[in-house]
């Protein structure tokens, strides 16, 4: 405080007295408007989540009360019981966890290896660059155009309504992203690091595992979170490829509560709240890497 005061005093004594005040006012205004904007953004992000959480805890009477009951209602866990014990949401949750987890592991493993190769080896005729671009180009069309071909392929492979089909599709969906992210991280590391490791007697794979990967952990964490979110939230392809209770993921299961005759808001919200938790937990677990990974 005293420091700032001193600085202002110096500024005042150096410049004409008139200019000191408006400058200070302007910085204060800038700071306040920053807080106002940030608060608005937080409010916009949190309100729907808050509404979902309250809906999941409200009886059906409270849900449709007018004016809406923001705070004053009697909480009930009936919808949670309904979703996870009477209905199959527990099963959807397990399916989602399995699919998202496995596909993330596959995409990150395969993508990281591919990215390392593309980052470090020059192929004849700039093939490495062409390959990278081609990989990226597979993300340039909307995934929906692949839905029908994928459905036919999975049908012929007898993989419809299986977790395997979703793991394969989500891995393919995430691979380009992993390759491009990790390629960028690898490129930032000096080549001499793995060269030193190889001169020291390690194989290239050993150098990758012992020297390079520990150095790109933040990037790896950030990439994995993205993959997990994409797989976790994916709806369209899951809807096309899975129809049975045993193979359905949470997003498909939740959407299924919008029926011809009624919309099960309470059940959907309860499932939605539970669906948030794994991603939230994972993101928090890797948070200390995440900030560095995203800003790299």
């Amino acid at each position: 405080m005293s420091e700032r005061y001193a600085a202002r005093k110096v500024a005042k004594s150096q410049s004409p007295a008139k200019q000191g005040r408006p400058g200070a006012t302007r910085t204060r205004l800038a700071r306040w408007s920053k807080y106002v904007l940030l608060s608005a953004a937080v409010l916009a992000a949190v309100t729907p989540v808050y509404w979902m959480v309250t809906i999941s805890l409200k009886s059906e009477v409270d849900q449709f009360a007018s004016p809406p009951r923001w705070f004053a209602f009697t909480p009930t866990l009936a919808h949670y019981y309904d979703a996870f014990f009477t209905r199959s949401f527990a099963k959807y949750l397990t399916t989602s966890l399995t699919v998202a987890g496995l596909s993330t592991i596959c995409a990150v493993t395969l993508g990281t290896l591919a990215a390392y190769g593309l980052a470090r080896f020059k192929l004849r005729g700039k093939l490495d660059q062409r390959l990278s671009l081609w990989i990226l180009s597979t993300r340039m069309f909307p995934p929906i155009v692949t839905a029908v071909p994928l459905f036919l392929m999975m049908r012929d492979l007898r993989l419809l309504n299986t977790i395997t089909s979703l793991v394969i599709v989500y891995t393919a969906l995430n691979l380009p992203f992993v390759v491009w992210m990790m390629r960028g991280f690898f490129r930032e590391l000096p080549r001499e690091l793995e060269e030193a490791a190889m001169v020291d007697g390690d194989s290239r794979l050993g150098a990758l595992v012992r020297v390079i990967l520990p150095l790109v952990t933040p990037g790896l964490a950030a990439t994995a979170v993205f993959c997990l979110i994409v797989s976790w939230n994916e709806f369209l392809l899951a809807l096309v490829l899975t129809q049975t209770d045993a193979s359905m993921t949470l997003p498909v299961g939740i959407a299924g509560r919008v029926t011809q005759y009624e919309i099960k808001w309470g059940v959907m919200s309860a499932a939605g709240v539970v669906a948030m938790i794994p991603i939230l937990a994972f993101a928090m677990a890797v948070q200390r890497y995440l900030v560095r990974g995203l800003s790299l």
Binding site: L193, A197, G201
Partner: protein, 356 residues
């Protein structure tokens, strides 16, 4: 173990980075590859390390042809210009890495890490990480990681170039002593001729992928194979004067000056007309007083180095540099007199640049 390059070439696309290199070190020798940037010296070292493939030719370590042996099996150790320490490991883990990947017992590793750390006076740093260390300390860690094993060859790629001047001179001496004590063949790459002269048993001067001369520092300095070597080695650089030989009047004449030649010069220069005369700055005497037979010159600038003075002169149209004592004083544009010690001159073919 000795190292041999036999007709080794490396091309990137159409340009030859290393061109038909033939070079053989003795066992235990310290060979310095010297040359300006882009001369192929680093590529040569990297081919020996297996980090680049030779396009053609054979590379031997001892009697073993290593062209097709992957880096990790070549049994070498290398110090990189930027040290390439592993940032996520402690200093002890960095030094231990070559032993760890060879699955040597933990006790043995600890013992050897401590011994090497003591040798290089970095024992107090073992638990720190590379980013907490100064440049000189990192340099020592890189050295420690290289010498913890007893490899067949040490490779050093400009290991001192990231250090400040004072530390560089100190480490230069320590490196020389270390190499002597270890007695292991060392291939050392640098563009700094002072490092090359002080460290090497033999210096290989390279230019544009071609070996120019491979000889002892003394011979490189006193009997340079060509004009490039003569110019590259020595500071300040050798003076060159283009001119003609007049065999009948025993004269060497350039546009700006005329010098007397003797019988031995003429014998060497027989049948030649246009030649380049080379003379090192320390073989030119400068005086403010005139002596018979000396040449008149104008002082362009003088640089007092403390123990000596570099005098930049104009003799006629030629610019030459002379080395004078620290006591020498002369004003800008003042008139002085110089004597070129004709018995110390070198002559180079004006076209090929080769020493005559």
């Amino acid at each position: 173990m000795d190292v041999r390059f036999e007709n080794v070439s490396k091309t990137f696309g159409k340009s030859a980075v290393v061109d038909q290199l033939n070079l053989a070190s003795d066992d235990g020798e310290l060979v310095v590859l010297l040359g300006p940037s882009g001369c192929g010296k680093t590529t040569t070292l990297r081919m020996l390390a297996g980090l680049e493939d030779a396009t053609s030719g054979d590379i031997f370590i001892g009697d073993e042809r290593v062209n097709d042996i992957p880096t990790q099996n070549r049994d070498i150790a290398m110090v990189f210009q930027n040290y390439a320490l592993y940032p996520h490991m402690t200093i002890a883990q960095n030094i231990a890495y070559p032993l760890r990947v060879r699955k040597i017992a933990r006790d043995e590793i600890n013992r050897r890490v401590n011994r090497v750390a003591e040798m290089l006076e970095i024992g107090a740093l073992l638990e720190r990480r590379p980013r907490e260390l100064s440049g000189g300390e990192r340099q020592r860690v890189a050295l420690a990681r290289a010498i913890i094993r007893e490899p067949r060859v040490y490779l050093m790629d400009e290991p001192l170039s990231n250090l400040d001047a004072k530390l560089r001179v100190q480490m230069r001496g320590e490196l020389k002593r270390l190499q002597h004590d270890l007695g292991t063949t060392t291939i050392y790459v640098t563009h700094d001729q002072a490092e090359a002269m002080t460290l090497a048993h033999r210096v290989a001067v390279m230019r544009a992928g071609k070996l120019q001369q491979f000889d002892t520092p003394m011979n490189i300095y006193n009997r340079p194979a060509n004009r490039f070597v003569a110019e590259f080695v020595g500071s300040p650089s050798m003076n060159f004067i283009e001119g003609r030989v007049d065999h009948s009047s025993y004269k060497f004449a350039s546009d700006a000056l005329t010098l007397d030649l003797d019988e031995s010069h003429l014998a060497r220069l027989s049948g030649r007309d246009r030649v380049t005369l080379g003379i090192r700055p320390e073989h030119i005497e400068v005086s403010t007083a005139d002596h018979p037979g000396w040449l008149a010159a104008t002082v362009y600038v003088t640089e007092l180095m403390g123990n000596e003075t570099f005098v930049f002169l104009r003799v006629g149209g030629e610019k030459i540099i002379a080395r004078a004592s620290a006591e020498f004083r002369a004003e800008f544009e003042s008139r002085v007199f110089v004597k070129i010690q004709m018995e110390r001159t070198d002559f180079f073919d004006s076209k090929t640049g080769l020493r005559i």
